[in-house]
Symmetry: C2
Subunit: 312 residues, 2 copies
Amino acid sequence: MKIAIAGAGAMGSRFGLMLKQGGNDVLLIDGWQDHINAIKENGLKANYNGKEITVEIPIVNQNNVPTGEQFDLIILFTKAMQLEKMLQDVKPLIADHTEVLCLLNGIGHEDVIEKFVPMEKIFIGNTMWTAGLEGPGKAKLFGSGSVELQNLGAGQEEAAKKLAETLSASGLNAKYSDNIHYSIYRKACVNGTMNGLCTILDVNMAGLGATKPAHDMVATIVNEFAAVAAKENVNLDIPEVIEHVETCFDPTTIGMHFPSMHQDLIKNNRLTEIDYINGAISRKGKKYGVATPYCDFLTQLVHSKEEILGAK
Amino acid sequence: MKIAIAGAGAMGSRFGLMLKQGGNDVLLIDGWQDHINAIKENGLKANYNGKEITVEIPIVNQNNVPTGEQFDLIILFTKAMQLEKMLQDVKPLIADHTEVLCLLNGIGHEDVIEKFVPMEKIFIGNTMWTAGLEGPGKAKLFGSGSVELQNLGAGQEEAAKKLAETLSASGLNAKYSDNIHYSIYRKACVNGTMNGLCTILDVNMAGLGATKPAHDMVATIVNEFAAVAAKENVNLDIPEVIEHVETCFDPTTIGMHFPSMHQDLIKNNRLTEIDYINGAISRKGKKYGVATPYCDFLTQLVHSKEEILGAK
C-alpha cells in the first residue's frame, strides 16, 4: 500500500517505520530540514525497544512534495497548529481514492480536514503508542500500544475496518471503534487537565496530584469537556473519566513524567497546542452556549505564559 | 493617645513610627522574635525618605502582652491569616472604650473582628502608604500615602472622623470615607488580579500587561468581584476599576515590580493571602449564589503552587 506520513516527528516516525517494515511503500513528509537531511543521509535510526536499528525510508520536505504521485493513505501526524499548512502542502498527493487518517491529539481537527478531503475519505482515531525523538533522524520507540479509528463519513464502516487491518498487519494493533468521538473526548480530558495544569504550575503529574486542589480542578475541567461533548451527542461517563485522568498522578507508573506541553513550553519555549485542547472546548462552548470558564482561563494563562517566555 | 500596633511588620512599623513621632504612646506587638529583639536592643531603625533614623518604641511578643494595660486604639496590621490569632492574643488590651482599626489588605476581615470587638468600636479602612522591611528591626519607608477609614457600626461617624484626625495629626493623611466598602473592593480588585496572575505566571506586572490575554483575564476577574460586591450593595464602576487596575501595567511607574504575593510565594516560599482576596470572593459568591469561576480557579492554582513549593 502506498502510504504518506504527513508529519514525521516522533510518532510519525514510529508509524512510518512500522508500516515500512510491514511491507508498505512509505513516504515521510516533514518540515524540519535537519531531520529530513539526517534521514536522507543515514536512514531513519531508532532505538526500537532497546535494539538500535536503521530503516531506509524516503522523506521529503512538505514544501516540495512530488507531483504526479498519488497515495492510498495519508496519515496526519503534525502538531495541531501545523495541520492546515500540511494539508495545503500535501494536496497534490490526494487523489479521489486517497484515504486520510487523522491521529492528532486534541479535538475538532475534522473541521480543518474537511476543507481538503471529502467526508467519506476521512478517518479519525487516536493512539496509545508512545514515541520520542532523540535528535534529527533518531527515534526512541519503546513499549507497545494500540490504535482506535472510525470513519467520519456515513457508510464507510467497512473501509474503516479494512484500514485498521492494514495498520494491524504492520503490528500497530489497530481496531475499528463504533464510538471514536467518545475515545477522543476521553483522551482529550487527560490532555486538557494534565497538560495545562502541569505547565502553568511547573510540576510533574504526581506533584500536581499530591496537592489538595488537584482533584477539584480536574473534576471541574472534565465536567466542562463533558458538557460540550454532550452537545455533540457524546455522553461521557464523568466519574470514570475523572478516575482515568487521575491514574496519571501515580508516581509508580507515569506520574513522574512532565506532560508534553510542559516540555514544549517550559523546557523548550515552543508554542503549545492549548488552542486544540482546552481552547477547542472554549470555542465549542461559545458555539453551543455552554459556559467553560476553567478552559477559558487555562487557555489564557498558557497563552500569556507563551508570550512571557517568548515561545516560538 | 495610647495606641497598640498589632502586627509590626513593614506597614505596622511605618504607622508605629509616625504615630510615636506624633507624640502618641505607642506599643508595637508582633510575633517575629528576631524583629522584636532587634527593636528592643537598638530601637526601630528606618531609612525614612533617604534619612537613617532610629526611634525608641516599646515592643512585645504577641504571646506575652502586658495585662492590666488598656488602649484607646488598636491598629490591626497582620497578614490576613494571622488576624484571628492576633485578636486572641491582644484580647487583654481591649477595654470597653478601645477602638479597633483594621487596615489589612483583602476582604471580609470584619467577620473575624466582630468575634472580639463590638461593632460600634470597629473601624475599617485602607491605605495607600507603602513600606518595606530590610531585615529585623529595620524598615524602609519612602514616599507619601493616605488612609481612608469608616465606622462599621451605625452612628459612629463622628468617632471615625476623630480617628482620622488622630492619624492625620501624625502625618498619616487620613480621611473619613462614607463608602469605605467601595474603596476596599476597588483596592481588592488590584490585589485580586495582579497578585494571583503574576504569581502563577511568574512575571512582573508590566510583563503580564504586555500579554494579549491579560486584559480579558483582568476584566473577567473584576466582573466577578463586582457581582459579589453588588450583593453587598456596593456597586463598582467596572470600566473605571479595570482602568485603575491596568495602571499597574505601566512600566514607567510600578509595572516593573512583582506584587507582594509573588514575593511571598515564589521568592520566599511563604503561604499567601489568596484566601482573603480571590478566595474571599469565592466564599461570598457561594453564599450569594454568584458564580466566580476565575476566582475559584486562581485560588486553587495558588494553593497548589504553595504545596508544590512547600510554602510555610
